[in-house]
Subunit: 483 residues, 2 copies
């Protein structure tokens, strides 16, 4: 009866094998589903990515007509491939990046072609033996010099790609000249096909659902300020509520939003570089003060560093005693909420491109809360308390004080941005001086702001604005109307 176990083993093997085979499609399905979810996520995070992909395909298909269409092909021949190369390499996500790369490539090709032809003629004079030596040394020299130039920070930021193409084109043209005597035609064709390829990129990237780096930078800065505002608005409640209940740990996501601000420098700088290439678009003029956005961004990051320190006290093991908390709670919460409101106000005014108005009053409120806290600390209420229990609370208060200062700096730089970029003023009847001095309470109630639903006095603004202003910024006004 040995067949039993053996056939059992066999059956087991087959069963296992079948199970594995049965599991295979499941695993495969899971893998596919996972990938599909990933693809969907990348597309949903920014649907412009899908459109961009289709745009690149379209541009390439268009340019390849150079090959298919006989009259064009008989003119350009194989050099038509430069047009294809240009499209592949130049077409970037935003209009600014595309324009920057395209102009770099175009100018560098033009200049390098001219110099390459010159080098070829120079080398021609030096006889058959001297020619390769002279050409080789020229290529070596220009490559070394151009490569070194790419290390200069200012040049790297804007003309890095141009220098690369300069090296490439100069080498190609001057060396090709050694074999091909129709070098002038080669240079001419190269410039022309690069021009055609570049134009295809420009037109498609500007006409078909354009992605403007400037607008992205504008929105990014506004979003970053809003993130800090969200944190500060929530911080007071979160910190002072926390001793009693630990339940609210999962809905703290809005408190983590500021983390992305800490490392936003590189992204902001490249967007600003791209934006500098962009023509006038939507609400943005040609010479929009993009550099001012970088200044605002730096101050926002400085504020984010303080907030990172604050966040450490949210999760710290040692918390201030409850009596200390209840004493400083009101002032601290006010400081935090008011500066948070001010930041969200500033973010909103950037988004809508109107002059910041009520943010200043929020900052004033935050400052007076800070003063209250100071006088509270001066009062004798504290003499009986254990200092060790006071420390965490006091540290939080002290950092909040720094945050208020940062908020003030941000407000100042946003004011500067608003005047440089000529943001529209919302309320012409209230002068900025009034806002700063008298009756902050009255003014505040007059321009009551709810942060998500802004009540702005659009009537006066449109009445006061000239017709050309209205027609040039229909989007901004429409936004005002909506809210």
């Amino acid at each position: 009866m040995e067949i039993g176990p053996a056939s059992g083993d066999k059956a087991g093997f087959f069963t296992q094998g079948r199970r594995w085979l049965n599991a295979l499609p499941v695993k495969f399905k899971a893998k596919v589903a996972d990938t599909a979810r990933n693809i969907k996520k990348v597309g949903q995070d920014d649907p412009r990515r899908v459109i961009h992909s289709l745009k690149v395909g379209l541009a390439l298909a268009l340019v390849s007509i150079f090959y298919y269409y006989q009259p064009l092909y008989s003119n350009f021949g194989v050099t038509a491939m430069w047009a294809i190369m240009t499209v592949v390499v130049v077409f970037e996500f935003s209009v600014g990046a595309t324009l920057g790369k395209g102009l770099n490539r175009g100018m560098a090709t033009l200049l390098a072609s001219a110099l390459g032809v010159g080098a070829h003629h120079l080398a021609n004079l030096s006889g058959h033996v001297g020619e390769p030596i002279l050409l080789g040394s020229l290529v070596f020299l220009q490559a070394a010099i151009s490569t070194f130039l790419r290390f200069f920070p200012k040049i790297k930021a804007r003309y890095d790609y141009g220098l690369l193409i300069f090296i490439l084109t100069f080498s190609l043209i001057s060396i090709s000249g050694f074999r091909d005597d129709e070098i002038l035609e080669l240079a001419h064709k190269r410039v022309l096909t690069v021009f055609v390829g570049g134009c295809a990129c420009f037109i498609i990237s500007i006409v078909v659902f354009p992605v403007w780096a400037g607008e992205d930078l504008h929105n990014l800065i506004a979003l970053n300020i809003e993130k800090l505002g969200n944190f500060l608005e929530g911080f007071g409640d979160e910190y002072f509520k926390r001793t009693g209940d630990a339940e609210s740990k999962d809905d703290k996501k809005y408190l983590e939003g500021y983390k992305s601000v800490l490392n936003s420098k590189t992204g902001e700088e490249s967007l600003a570089n791209f934006a500098a290439w962009e023509p006038r678009h939507g609400r943005f003029q040609f010479r929009h003060p993009w550099k001012q956005y970088l200044k605002v961004g730096t101050l926002v990051r400085e504020c984010a560093y303080r907030i990172e320190a604050l966040n450490g006290y949210l999760n710290a093991d040692i918390q201030a005693s409850s009596e200390v908390r209840s004493l400083i709670q009101e002032a601290c919460t006010n400081m935090s909420i008011e500066s948070g409101k001010a930041l969200k106000e500033l973010s909103l005014t950037i988004k809508k491109m109107v002059q910041p108005s009520s943010a200043d009053s929020h900052i004033e409120n935050a400052k007076s809360a800070a003063k209250n806290l100071k006088s509270l600390l001066k009062s004798g209420l504290w003499e009986d308390t254990d200092l060790l229990k006071v420390i965490p609370g006091i540290t939080v208060a002290s950092i909040l004080n720094e945050v208020v200062k940062c908020t003030e700096n941000i407000a100042e730089s946003v004011h500067e941005l608003a005047s440089k970029a000529q943001f529209k003023s919302v309320e012409r009847t209230v002068s900025p001086e009034k806002l700063h001095s008298g009756q902050p309470q009255n003014i505040k109630s007059a321009q009551m702001v709810n942060c998500s639903h802004v009540v702005v006095n659009v009537g006066e603004s449109t009445m006061a604005a000239s017709p050309s202003e209205i027609s040039s910024a229909p989007k901004a006004i429409k936004h005002n109307m909506e809210v």
Copy 2:
């Protein structure tokens, strides 16, 4: 007598003109001198830049032999220009970046050439009318899909350039096939010339004064930790000395060093990406744990955020009263100096690739200083002081406490790095447990560290190490010998 003034005017004009002309060379000279200074600075900041520029020139000059040398030219003809393009585009500053780009380009060219030939044959079957339509749709599809793939963060980090070249090559090969029936030869030549160009880059970048991204990352992390250490070592003195004298404002440069750490994330990540492509070099194995460096870097940045907050109190308007200062001075200064020493120790052990030893005892010292501070604050010494005067000092102490915690985290991650990367242990006689538990004072004196002159027990380490270890890392041991 109207001639007088007129001639005077004339003379004045001439004098002015002459002055302007005289000034011109001076201005020009100043401009030239300024540019020269700038060039010198870029070169002196990192002399490897000059060498890199010469290397690029050399590689280009070498590859252009394809054109000059008749037997090679008769084989490759115009396609030799792909070799030149490859050199210009692939040759990057570090070996890792060059290898990454070269391998990306090579693999993408190979794959896209094969698929392009396939697409050509497929299109051939569909007749003369259908061919351009089918080819166009294929080009459109692959361009759209590949472009979309470039948005995936993981793919973007390592294979972005490969996808670009894939789009390029596939389009070129498949479209060229419409005109050129020797498409297989074209694809073959393209792959071969790209291979030759890539090899020229690899060989020159590895053989002639190689710049290793991995080594740069290693040094960058060590340098960043050292910068934080420098700040902390100087902070105590700077903060507590400052009330009396304001003279030391100019020699505070070492206190600003940490600022570059705040924004080092992008640089570290790209270096780690490049390093992953690099073969074994110097003291680094092929699978050196580069990702662990990123973890250390993140913790270092978190510490830098705390330090940024501390720095705010160095320059704050409101300072703690002098009596408060004198009370907390000793404990705070100890916390700061000891954690600074610990960081500099850690930086040094990374630089020398030895197991961190005495850093832990410094951290213990910093912790005990923090404990002292706590008990000081618990004691009744404070009851008569004005709380408002205490706040800045207490906040500084509280943030310093956070810094000590950060230092501990950094030390832990450096320990992890040391074990993952198998750093050599300096003292085999002292077990890590002992270091953490008993008699920290004795151990500290036994392995007294001066931070710039480390006394390490090299004899034991080399005795314990196997001969292969010694031969594989002569540089590291030599470093130990030197100090």
